[in-house]
């Protein structure tokens, strides 16, 4: 485990990011995400490691026109490219406008276009979507990913909805340490431990003890329910099982034949909007949260007190040892 938790600052740590792919760095405030980017960009006391284009967190507009700011630091032959990217990002302002009159979202689009137009082999972006309106984020994220292309990129973000668009791989940082690294989906669905689970906002964490083994699966007895999960926990050991709310399927009426190893019967405790989705909490002896689209929640006619069945595939749940 220790070799997966290099501390901030070691050259091996930094060079672990230099492969040619897009990595998002995710984590709570103060986790050291910006420090990591600054180190990679050579802005701390570490010698520059990467030839990288770096987008700092707050866009700053220099005196002068939009065009001057957009072209700052770029070679002449990249001017048309930066103009083109600015257009794609939706920066629709005259080139001769005073850059200091731009709104936060416009300034961010300008700074993004300038950074992405750079011919540096690596791209480092610190919270690129924070100043962008929510409704435009998906589009901007798609442009960012497309314009990074095959270059290596490290993107610090806490914006969950665009993670999968921005990057192939995800790193969870907590307290200056890398706590988990892997494909975006797998980190969200199977966090290594409860800190990571809290950081990525996973829905369900249930404690119990291991009662049975079946290959890579373990059955964890949590009192009212028994849960099958992926994990390497010794028999009779205490275990914590985690699974994302989006991996929970909700059924009305009888549950037919299913490949899911975990299915339980219960009643709906609450139905609440969660962003563009609906969070349904079902009491099956313990509370289990499920994320549904508003459409399927409506189709099932779910309401507080509705009797339902829920199912979770064992491969979507992860069991870790608790000492």
């Amino acid at each position: 485990m220790d070799d997966q938790k290099p501390t901030l600052g070691g050259p091996a740590y930094l060079s672990s990011f230099t492969e040619e792919r897009r990595v998002v760095v995710f984590g709570p405030n103060g986790a050291g995400k910006t420090s990591l980017l600054r180190q990679m960009a050579g802005l701390s006391n570490v010698s520059r490691l990467l030839e990288a284009a770096y987008l700092p967190q707050d866009p700053y507009m220099f005196r002068g026109s939009v065009a001057r700011n957009l072209h700052l630091g770029l070679s002449d032959h990249l001017y048309p490219l930066s103009d083109e990217i600015a257009g794609e990002l939706g920066l629709g302002v005259p080139a001769d406008q005073d850059a200091r009159t731009l709104s936060g979202g416009e300034a961010q689009r300008l700074a993004l276009a300038r950074t992405l137009a750079s011919d540096a082999p690596y791209v480092l972006l610190d919270e690129p979507l924070a100043p962008i309106d929510v409704k435009d984020r998906q589009h901007v994220a798609a442009v960012i990913a497309g314009r990074i292309g095959h270059r290596g990129a490290v993107i610090v973000t806490h914006e969950e909805t665009t993670l999968a668009t921005l990057a192939d791989e995800m790193v969870v940082m907590i307290g200056g340490e890398i706590r988990q690294r892997g494909p975006v989906d797998s980190v969200f669905l199977t966090p290594h431990d409860d800190d990571v689970a809290a950081a990525v906002g996973i829905g369900n964490v249930i404690d119990g003890s291991v009662v049975e083994h079946d290959g890579s699966l373990v059955a964890v007895d949590a009192g009212p329910v028994q849960i099958w999960a992926v994990g390497d926990v010794e028999p009779d050991g205490r275990a914590r099982v985690m699974f994302g709310a989006e991996t929970v399927t909700v059924f009305k009426g009888e549950l037919g034949e299913s490949s899911a190893r975990n299915h339980w019967e219960g009643t709906v405790r609450s139905v609440l909007p969660a962003g563009r989705l609906v969070e349904v909490v079902v009491d099956v002896g313990v509370d289990v949260a499920a994320l549904l689209t508003p459409g399927s929640a409506d189709a099932l006619g779910l309401d507080t007190g509705s009797p339902v069945h829920i199912a979770v595939k064992a491969t979507a749940a992860r069991a870790v040892s608790r000492s």
Binding site: L43, A53, Q57, G73, R100, A111, A120
Partner: protein, 233 residues
Amino acid sequence: MSFIVDVFADAIRFLGEVGPELRDIVGLTLLVSGSATVIGAVIGVPLGVALGLERFTGRGVLLALVNTGMGIPPVLAGLALLLLLWDDGPLGGLDLVFTPVAMVAAQTVLAIPIAAGVTAAAVRNLSPAASEQIAALRLSYTGRWMLTGREVWPGIVGAVAAAFGRVIAEVGAVIIIGGNIQGETQVLTTAIVQESRQGRFGAAVGLGIVLLIIAIGVNAGLTWLQLRDVRHG
């Protein structure tokens, strides 16, 4: 009270009879202090940008030198230069003692730390976001300094104004290194010293008024530039 009134009446009369002598003094004053300010700014402003922006070895020593230089008594700068340029001194061969060139050199020594110190303060006052963006742009040293200089130009205008104000008002350095030779190395401040020592208060006050008009005029112009920037963002 009538003494003061008489002096000012004399001063007005003196200014009314502007002869070639006064024109020479004003001309030499502007030439010497103007040259010193320009040279001091050419050296001091980039030095100040570097001190405010970069982290390098020797930066602490340079900052200490600049801060000391900002407060050094002009008499001492003049004396040090006099020793260097004196016939038996290390640079005696240049034969520059009691010449306008030596006066420019002395005032340049006074102007550099002011230009550098005020510029460095302006650079340090840039917002953290600005400093971060400047560092992020991957520019060459000159590119970075030019960008920073343009960003803080009202501060640089202030630095130049402060340097000019310091050198045109000082008397200690030019009187030692220039010798206050009438028609050759006499400037407004040293002329005021001479006139007042000889009891010609009217002339002294007249010269003082001219000095004040120059100082106010230059600073008013530079202030106007800075205010115009504030208005236009």
